[in-house]
Amino acid sequence: MEVKKHKGSEEMSNNEGVIYRISGPVVTATGIDARMYEVVRVGHEKLMGEVIEIHGEQSVIQVYEDTSGIRPGEPVFSTGQTLSVQLGPGLLTQIYDGIQRPLQTLEEVMGVFITRGVDADGLDLEKKWEFEATASVGDEVSGGQVIGTVQETDTITHKIMVPPKASGKIKSLESGEFNVTQTVCTLDDGTEIQMMQEWPVRHPRPFNQKYAPDTPLVTGMRILDFLFPLAKGGAAGIPGPFGSGKTVTQQSLAKYSDAQIVVYIGCGERGNEMTEVLDEFPHLIDPNTGKPLMNRTVMIANTSNMPVAAREASVYTGITIAEYFRDQGYDVALMADSTSRWAEAMREISSRLEEMPGEEGYPAYLSSRLAEFYERAGRVETLNGDDGSVTVIGAVSPPGGDISEPVSQGTLRIVKVFWGLDAGLARQRHFPAINWLNSYSLYPQSLNQWFRDNIASDFPEVRTEISALLKVEAELQEIVQLVGSDALPMDQQLTLEVARMIRVYFLQQNGFDPVDAYSGVEQQYAMARAILTFQEEAKKAMAAGAVLEDVVNVPARIELMRARFAEGYLEKIEGLVEEMVNQIGNSVEAQ
């Protein structure tokens, strides 16, 4: 039943030990001379594991598969390698488990239930790709430089790079059909370069330098792009209790954000949800390229009941793949849903190791691991001299929705964007249920120039006005709770109506509506302007004697709000606003 795994130089070395102790996913072995984070094979079934602690003669191993039935005395083999992923053409459209085994291959070998002891290559080693050389014989190349390309999917050209540690003069290089293990290039020092390279997942891939982000990641979600924008190369956290729409938000981002590559990690979440993504994505069209979304997507699914150690690894597997595409000069967005499950996997392993716990039983190194992970985001100059980025968006599932817990706090200390989901809003069916009062983004300063240049010169000012209105509304609502809205003066009642318009028309967005689900930044700006125009005109009209109710109920305003569900809305806004202004003007004359 065993599918032989290639994994480069993984000959079993002579280094063999025996199992001393088994406690759940943690196995202790003696007589093995392993390095930290080295991959080892455990027991007669050769289950995959990783060394996570060394005590004198004993090596402590976390095993990525179920350990039931394994006995002390069974052999343990060291491999001399650290946990690595295979990188090369064939990554896109794949769905992997936490240690880069394609789930489709696992199904072919094991059937519908995931059993153990099966290895599978991350890439299809047989498939031939059309390799086109872009460098020439005689060129001096070094690690990270592009020597050729493969058209991997309709939209993505996969760039073949010199592995980070190699360099020299190209001795031979040929275009043609190759599989990923065949040599396409040799260097004068004899180094052979294949299309596939391996990289240890716990090790960030190298780059020349990090830049400050200056371009927004456009997500098509109004509340995010307009009020709390995220930069390409930035990091965002989305904490929220269950049922507040974390997964729906993450999936929307995976669908509509203008990244060129999306890596989606389902880490310790529901099986049926991953299936839904798998069913849906091949049929969805990327609004930015018009091609199926799947063409730019790599998925990693380690559901809640799959082995906990592989869940711990899944996040690293995902970010390493993301970095690999970044190195090709792409803008990559990585969604991790949910980082709390990852943290819990760390807690579980840590408690099996009987480590001294930090807060709430989490290991003391929790916050540094979180920081290391989010620090792998960034906009960089690649080794090839291109511009590439990895944007990380991590969902957090705080117990009881209380974000004072360690995972939320550890995340918030690192990320610059906080999109706080709110159970109360979800309960009112206000989606996306992102709370506009406590969410924040620290990027507007660095992104304002982009918005001024590309959308409108007064974009930041309009944003400030909109968010100021929402703040004022929150204060007024407190008074309304006590005395009712009729007791407020007219101008404040108008402010409440305008804020209501912001909430219902602008902030609410139906992720399941084919048109409303995606809103371009230009349209967002036009909608925000329309709201401010309404406020101005209403003020004028009321000063001239119009009644608030008449002003609010002018048909053109209702139409303006409703029309956002129809195709071609952006073109219609101007006309509808003009109509609204006229009708508000008429409501004065009607008096």
Partner: protein
Amino acid sequence: MTSKEYKTITDIKGPLVFLEKTEPVAYGEIVTIRLSDGSTKNGQVLDTSDDMVVVQVFEGTEGIDRRAGVKFLGDVFKLPVSKGLVGRILDGAGRPRDGGPDIVADEKADIIGAAINPYSRQSPHDFIQTGVSAIDCCTTLVRGQKLPIFSASGLPHNDIALQIARQAKLKDSDEEFIVVFCAMGITAEEYNFFRADLERTGALENAVLFVNLADDPAVERLITPRLALTAAEYLAFEHDYHVLVIYTDMTNYCDSLRQIGAAREEVPGRRGYPGYMYTDLAMLYERAGIVKGKKGSITQFPILTMPGDDITHPIPDLSGYITEGQIVISRELHQAGIYPPINVLPSLSRLMGGCIGEETTRDDHKKISDQMYAAYAQGRELRGLVAIVGEDALNERDLQYLKFSDIFEDKFVRQGRDEDRTIDGTLNLCWELLANIDTKYLERLDDELISKYHPNEKKE
């Protein structure tokens, strides 16, 4: 495998027995312990090494002394399964409890169960009509879903679960579910109630019961749901049955988990529950769904009682993160004499979107359920305001919503214990009740639906 008996017990602590100097023992291996009075107990290996083996004893360690003999059976825990399970009552460790013969096994299935490959799953999309309006309209149950009932002590969750078990069927179909019922630490009285009801309706013939009562060993409770799910998987995926698994009460299960954790001196997580409780619960809840190429399905209906009615308690909280929604039972409604006291506001069905609409239920289902929900939510909110400022401060629109919230509870949520409403009946009832609100305030309904269904606006 070795059937050597060891008399090397060193420590006995809570439900755990510690032994030394054994042959290599497998992790998860099954153990029998022979006491000095000749009786035996069963257990499972929790930790194994060359020097020390830790065994968790299902029946509790009462009566075990250091002279007791321990045998390792060389295998992990397995349940004998066959079609003969249907109609049987078994105890919490899988032994007959109904006085019948042992189960003749077609095969033996590992009770831990393997994870379903997400790639091999099929998205659930078949609407299950439960006949309960509040569920069918607002938190629709889908075949293959795991939808827990979040309840609390003193509330009629058992009646609701039974009513659903009795009435659940696909729309326009007589196809019945096999019910797998799993009791964990409930009282004999509750158990008798379940059993009598299943007998009364004849459902017992199509059911398998696994019963661990309050005075049965607490540690055994960790096995009981795994046995039930193993039976369910066998019936669903080997014999094409549609299986409805009801387990009650998850809170007792989690308390047993905590007990083991404490005995092993593990570092506790929140409220003393072990840090791996999320993973452990997921290993149960995730054993629901539909698999490509198999006709059967598993739908789960776990019941849990929220300690102190607190939905942020770790048990409901972790469950909510794994399950595909929840049905929340409200003490307030119960005290107001409404049955079933389902509070639709915090209730949710995550899979609902994919299974309602023209082809499965009716074209108005999505919008009318949104409208019912929104109107009720507004009415409830206004109740709070009225308590402060009085009804006089409300405008016409708000008054109508306020009145509607009472009608909603009285006519829509309230129904008889044997009242089985069809989905058409439920949706028509929605329209009838919404007629109490002026049409211009029904913002979530479009003109087309209104002219098709609204009792006062309908164009025949």
